[in-house]
Symmetry: C3
């Protein structure tokens, strides 16, 4: 894996609903095979997915209460990764253990901390909106990419691609790419804020009454996007000086999306996403429409990004030329590099993107749920 990714971060490994009880689940994160299971008592466990004995996959194993048995030669592991039984051998070496990764379920996602366990502060988990949030009606999905996850992060950090890649799905206004959003550095990410006056935020839902649309998202390490959109009466943007509005004044089209990019290996990634309206601004039917559009759009990204990866892999020393649209990418890459460098030195309380957002004195940050 490249030096882009910090180990001291929570990575999304699965939708909680896709993890059955006592059903081991295999994934690679940062190139490392990991088995995840929920124990009989409901505890979430994440271990290296290789038996200490002969490297068989524990994900082919059998849950036994709180424990996981390797189904090659029967070694039994506890939830800390320690071998507690070797069939036919009374002595168990003290070194017989696999690494356990801190893992929690939060906001409908399974999160795994890839760094040292001591640094695994749950307060660092981005405040995604779970599928069970009472105010939102969300669909969810996922998509695998044959590409470095960093290319997906870069994509999500620069929405100037919308009028080109998504001309037929999100259908933004023609001048969308001309106007740069307001971009603010966060301790663990970047915030994007944008007013689109006098029209809907994105034309994807057809002709509707004019509104000033506000779209704001945080993109947080290691690759989590939390976006809130809402329509306001025409004139609101100007009235508030094109700064953050009072969310309670939104009158239309309020919706939320949580997205997460997880690097499986150096050239494969998994992309998790939810989308849906606020319950006062839509229903399950609108959710399905939004999810349909998002599905189309994310496949458009996939075509573009996988082709981009092919080109990168074909060229000995690929070079890029930054544009002014890259500001968000540049800031975020610095954040990632710093986190990767700092390792455990980073403490949670001082670095939580949501709470400590620079210049956001009120609690209604763009990415937390209004």
């Amino acid at each position: 894996m490249s030096d882009y990714y910090p180990r001291n971060a929570w990575y999304v490994a699965a939708w909680s609903v896709d993890l059955g009880n006592e059903k081991p689940f295999a994934i690679s994160i940062l190139g490392e095979p990991i088995v995840i299971y929920r124990t009989a008592s409901g505890r979430l466990v994440a271990l290296q997915d290789r038996c200490v004995h002969r490297l068989a996959r524990l994900s082919l194993g059998r849950c036994e209460g709180e424990r996981l048995r390797c189904m090659y030669h029967g070694l039994l592991f506890d939830a800390e990764g320690k071998v507690v039984e070797i069939p036919g051998q009374p002595q168990i070496p003290a070194s017989a253990r696999v690494r356990a990764f801190p893992a929690v379920e939060r906001h409908s996602w399974v999160w795994v901390w890839m760094g040292e366990a001591a640094g695994a502060d749950e307060a660092l988990i981005p405040e995604a909106v779970g599928l069970d949030h009472p105010d939102y009606i969300l669909g969810h999905g996922q998509l695998d990419y044959a590409a470095d996850g960093r290319l997906i992060n870069d994509n999500l950090l620069d929405f100037s691609h919308l009028p080109y890649v998504h001309a037929n799905s999100f259908r933004p206004s023609k001048d969308f790419a001309q106007v740069r959003p307001v971009i603010t550095a966060l301790p663990r990410g970047v915030r994007f804020e944008r007013w689109v006056t006098g029209k809907q935020a994105a034309g994807m839902l057809g002709e509707k009454p004019a509104a000033d649309a506000w779209v704001s998202y945080d993109f947080l390490a290691p690759g989590v996007l939390l976006m809130w959109s809402g329509g306001f009466p025409v004139g609101t943007a100007e009235a508030c000086g094109f700064t953050r509005p009072d969310y309670s004044q939104a009158v239309s089209d309020v919706n939320f999306t949580s997205q997460a990019v997880t690097p499986l290996t150096a050239r494969t990634s998994r992309y998790f996403f939810s989308w849906g309206p606020h319950c006062k601004h839509g229903d399950a039917a609108l959710r399905d429409i939004l999810m349909g559009i998002a599905g189309q759009a994310f496949n458009e990204d996939k075509v573009m990004i996988e082709a981009q990866q092919e080109v990168i892999d074909q060229i000995p020393a690929p070079d890029i030329m930054p544009t002014t649209a890259d500001k968000g990418i540049t800031i975020f890459t610095q954040v990632m590099r710093r986190l990767a460098r700092d390792g455990n030195a980073v403490t949670a309380s001082a670095n939580h993107g949501q709470e400590a957002a620079a210049g956001a004195a009120d609690s209604s940050t763009g990415s937390s749920v209004p």
Copy 2:
């Protein structure tokens, strides 16, 4: 790519008929991703297939008149590869350009010059017979190989494989491989000439009246075969001392084939071919028969050559043992190495295979269209 291939050469990139107007087309030549498009005005353009910004494929882009827009973040390129628009950014760096490759359409093929533009002399384009040639009724096709194009060149430079690989398709006479053709070095290739007396040139069309068959082809850098065949009255070969006949005296079976091998990457190639009779010696029905036989034969080559590539890749230091049948391969390899070495020093006027063919004083060279 190996040092076998010269950059100073015209490579066939496509059949002209397969290139739609304002439809970007992606290909790799010598391992380099290239996008080709025909502009609104009909001009042919070939550019590096990677945006200067973030290496997105321009071949996923959109033609706009004479220009090509990258459909990732909207950068617009002119036909010389220069960026002329960056959405949302007034300043465009002077260095913002991709390489443009000289490209022309000729003889129904799209040709791309991979070397420095200054050396791109169109007179170096081999005189293939286009699909629109008034005297010939040609079919055309193409075939992709999972093999180094050099192995296909080697195949076409030694027809002693015909009685073995093509025993069931071209069905040459049993003693075909026993008699070596006359082989002559050309400035940019090799000429092969052969009389097959008292029988048809190849037995592929069944029993027919006896004839002295003349088959002659030029194989020209970087991998273009131009072959003319014709039947003459029995005795012609002896009467002209087994040298080149007067083409106007041909009485049967006159046909022509143009073939081109293009190295896509180090281990993949594309093979373009046409075949068909002179309009006085056949019709569309005969063309279809010839194309059917050629299709069978080229798939026989593909099986043999892809298996050969597998073996080569499995052996640490593969060695070969030349035979006397390799004479054409040896000469051609020297030509290729010289061209690869000389680079732009080669000038067109002094090196055109067709015109300057050593020892061919008359204008009826075997490969030009009689």
Copy 3:
């Protein structure tokens, strides 16, 4: 290939029944492409599968009596690998030859000796039970693995995996993995012996009268398993002090299996197997039942081992932790390394696993056919 595999060994290349007369057959052994054919007179020939000329596959060639013709340019090879004809070229270089490998058919298998021909002692061929053995009714099959053959060897050298991998196929008793077999080093392998008292050897055939089951197998370089199982009256195990019984006293469930693991390349292998009852203890119907269970079981192994290979390939420096169940693997690995090291110094008479089995004074070794 790793240094695990000796070249001085007989490798199984095919089932004899799958090798047609004068039908060249391609296989790689130890990463080396080999063509095998049975001549018109029935002689078995194994040659390097690459023409001396341009590395075409001889396995795409044509048998001509005792010889094999390369169907690329027609070179003809005799059964010793010497080129005896080059079409169109009278002189044949003395060096024009490919390596011939000693090859024999024995016990229904085609065996190829990968070392120097001088060391190819047929007495070193393990005494597998052929499909034509009068006392046994055997089925046969084969299975390809995307894994290093060594992982399959390791699997077969430690049956403590049976209660886990094969809980649903071979269905051994629950305490099977608790009791270690008696393990004895052989000059070219390892012998495993085990009594399972008061129950059938494996519960795979359902409820049956109680018996003392004896299971014994030799695992011989480079990867050949020969296993004999039989049921004895309850009490036999104790009566003979849990040592090898008098095979003639077996009363039930006598069956035999020969298995062979052949490393094709560093990451692919072929697994050959037969199984069936002694003719006094079963019929073709029982053979089919046994083969059905074996087929299920071997696919269970394949899933586990291919996943194991994936993990090994994903980890920079995979480490393993031996257990007491690894004794057989450890001994066998030492045998393989010694053979790989000794090369031709190993002589057949002093090293034949079957005859010189340490401590087996009688001729009824576990693996030879009783």
